[in-house]
Amino acid sequence: MIDETAREERLDQLLAEYLRRCDAGENVDRASFLEEYAEFADDLEQLLDTADLIDRMAGPVIGCDGEYPTQSFPGSGPTPVGQTDFNVESRGNRTFGEYELLEEIGRGGMGVVFKARQMKLDRIVAVKMILSGRLASEDDVRRFYAEARTAGNLHHPGIVGIHQVGEVDGQHYYSMDYVEGTTLRKLLGDGPLPPERIARYVKAIAQSMQYAHEHGVLHRDLKPSNVLIDADDRPHITDFGLAKHIDADAGLTASGSAVGTPSYMPPERASGKPFRCSPAGDVYAIGAILYELLVGKPAFRAETAVDTLLQVMHEEPKPPSTLNPDADDDLATICLKCLQKRPRRRYPSARDLAEELDRFQRDEPIRAKPIGKLAQSWYWMRRVPLVAALADRQLTRPTLWHRRVQRLLLAIPLLIAMALVVWKVWPETLPSQIRIASGMGGGMYYRVAEHLGTELHDDVGRPVTVLRTSGSLENRRLLIDGKAEVGLLQSGSTPMDELAVVAPLYYEVVYVVARGGQGIDEVADLRGKAVSLGPNDSGMRRSALRIIEHYEIDLQSLTESTAPFTSLLTDKTMQAAIVTTGLQNDDLKALLRDERFTLLPIHDRDAEALSRKNHCFKPTHIYATDVPRHLAVGEEGIPSVMTPAFLAVRIDATGPLVRTLLETLYLRSDMVARYRLMSIEQAAEWQDRALHPAARKFFLTAIQ
């Protein structure tokens, strides 16, 4: 006895074997298969019987789309087709009402077609029948009768005529002409046809359809397999299964379900947009048949129906001559006119098409014009999605090259935009690092810069460096050379071209300090003395030189020193110093606290003259509260001039940098209070052409 598990496994293998052979297309003889494996025959038979039962319950196999019928009399359409209970081949001839069914000659559409003998009249007819009523939906039955009715009203030698419509034992049927011969589909397989024959077929089809159109009937599913060719080589149109009365309401196919065969479906129908069926759709289909007759294959056919539909909607057919160099030029032109995407560019009617073909047959010039190169280019360009959008064509089906051209077109504005960005937007960011050009270590500039640097670093989170420099002029150079982003400058001494002011920080006052007991009581007395004017390149020195110039003191007469003014404390040979600095300068405070030194006034008259000559100087007074008591400054104070110190950037500095500096200075730190800087209101009053636009905006907003 075989182990039960092993037996089941063997059964699986045998079933697999059986199914594989069926899949391979083998006509497996069940009886001999069972015989071969007699030991498992009962089990296998039960399984196969159950499978048969499923087949019966699940209904017949859905037919192919009827595009390539196996018999000479095809049906069509994607509608499910049932197998009738009549299997003529296996059961031999049988009677069906007044008909004797001879052989099955076609299958598709909604039914199956038999060659039959109408016994009373003893003539050969074709009988088309719908499936047994149980399986057909009422829609199917309605559609079947509609087809019979529509076609039944047509009596034309080029259209297969309907004889009888009826029902036998619940089986709906109609009978029609039996056309002995072949189909256009089969003829296509025999190789290219001569142009005269093509023209004759297509003209006959067009004439038949003109007749149908005149009787208010559209075919809607014209294709080579629906054109029968009789023994006399005349075409007959059949299968009005999708036919429709031109003015009937949407009715049976209103569901929007896909009807027709993609390769021959006019684009207006393929797109599924609300459309009006019109004879132009049939003209298109005739053109599609003509195309296939010219080149041997449909104008549009892709791997799947969907892709075919997309082609139908969006692609122009290839000129027939590119596929078949022997294709007749005039027929090609006629064909492409039929295949125009827009219905109104096609022949207005089937008759116009027939007449055109008639002209061709009589060797007269045809009326349609070949599509010119320019039009071809435009058709091509229209499929670039962008162009399609501009041309208000909703649908496009771009190829790789269309996309490339599209990219190129799109790139132009993009490049312009990028240029704008680089030019305008890109600089609108903070620099990657901020270097502040300050001044001498320990000096006012340096201290302010260092504080600003620390605050900035906290605010912007990027490297901030404070550069020690000799002063304003060096700072200016560093800014211009791009070696510093921010600098402190003394305005009275610094040319502002190429630079822009972020903010005036504070006024620097000119202190003329002289060693007591040397006979120096007025600035004019400095003539011939040893005077510290400040380091080269410093704003301090520049200011000092202006003062000396004003007093008409010859620089050559001075024992000038570039040593810092603090050297006065240690170097006894130094007799005086002209110092321009803020009040908060500790070195100056230390110097002034030393009782050996005294402050010289720049009298109002001179101060005014100085400010007239150089608008950066303003007259001012040094008050007692600001200086040590030993200087015995009276209530009026000591007159002098002052000049603002600026925070400056290069003229092309970005808005964000300027704004960040201002916000740090005024809004996010206590620098104003600590260094007695001008308040934001005071700074806002300070208007100067050199103010950076972003700073101007900042101050305007700040004071509102």
Partner: protein, 207 residues
Amino acid sequence: MNSSVANEDDLLAKACRGDGEALGHLLQKYRPYLRIMAQRRLDSRLKIRVDPSDVVQTTFLEAHRDLASFRGKAEGELVAWLRRILDNNLAQTIQRHVFAKKRSIRRERSLDDAVGTSHVLADFLAADQSSPSRRVMRGEAAIRLAQSMDQLPTDQHEAVRLRYLEGRSLREIAEHFDRTEVAVAGLLKRGLRGLRKQLDTNGSRDH
């Protein structure tokens, strides 16, 4: 037989008069059938990850909602009506998924937006996948078959469905399950046996 059929006719008559409860009872009978029909359109090569049961459920909700607009009297008409609602839902689902997928892959907005409006295309998409030997699944027998199949374990149901309703080859099914062909034959064997038992039981109850 008589009592159950009479009961069904009664339900149908009530449903046709707009009785939602009666419709609910009937719908349960059609559920397995409609699910198989939904599966048919969803298990294409498009590999849409949608549970057919969800689409069927939506269909039932809409059927209840729109019952007043149903004008038929026969069961065939009711099933046809349900299938129309189902097909509509499926078409929408397929459009959403297929075109969303295509969009993300190809970023061709103009094409896909336009295509999204095309019912014809969606129909073809759905119909495109037919094997040469799938079955129409129409009529009362098909509904009964679906009900019986519904009792099978999921994998057996799937195997039987793909083989006998969709006409898929053994190799295709093996790839689908990622199992050997013999293993799939084993599934089919068990499925066929289970189904036989179901059909025999139901049959004897009906007759």
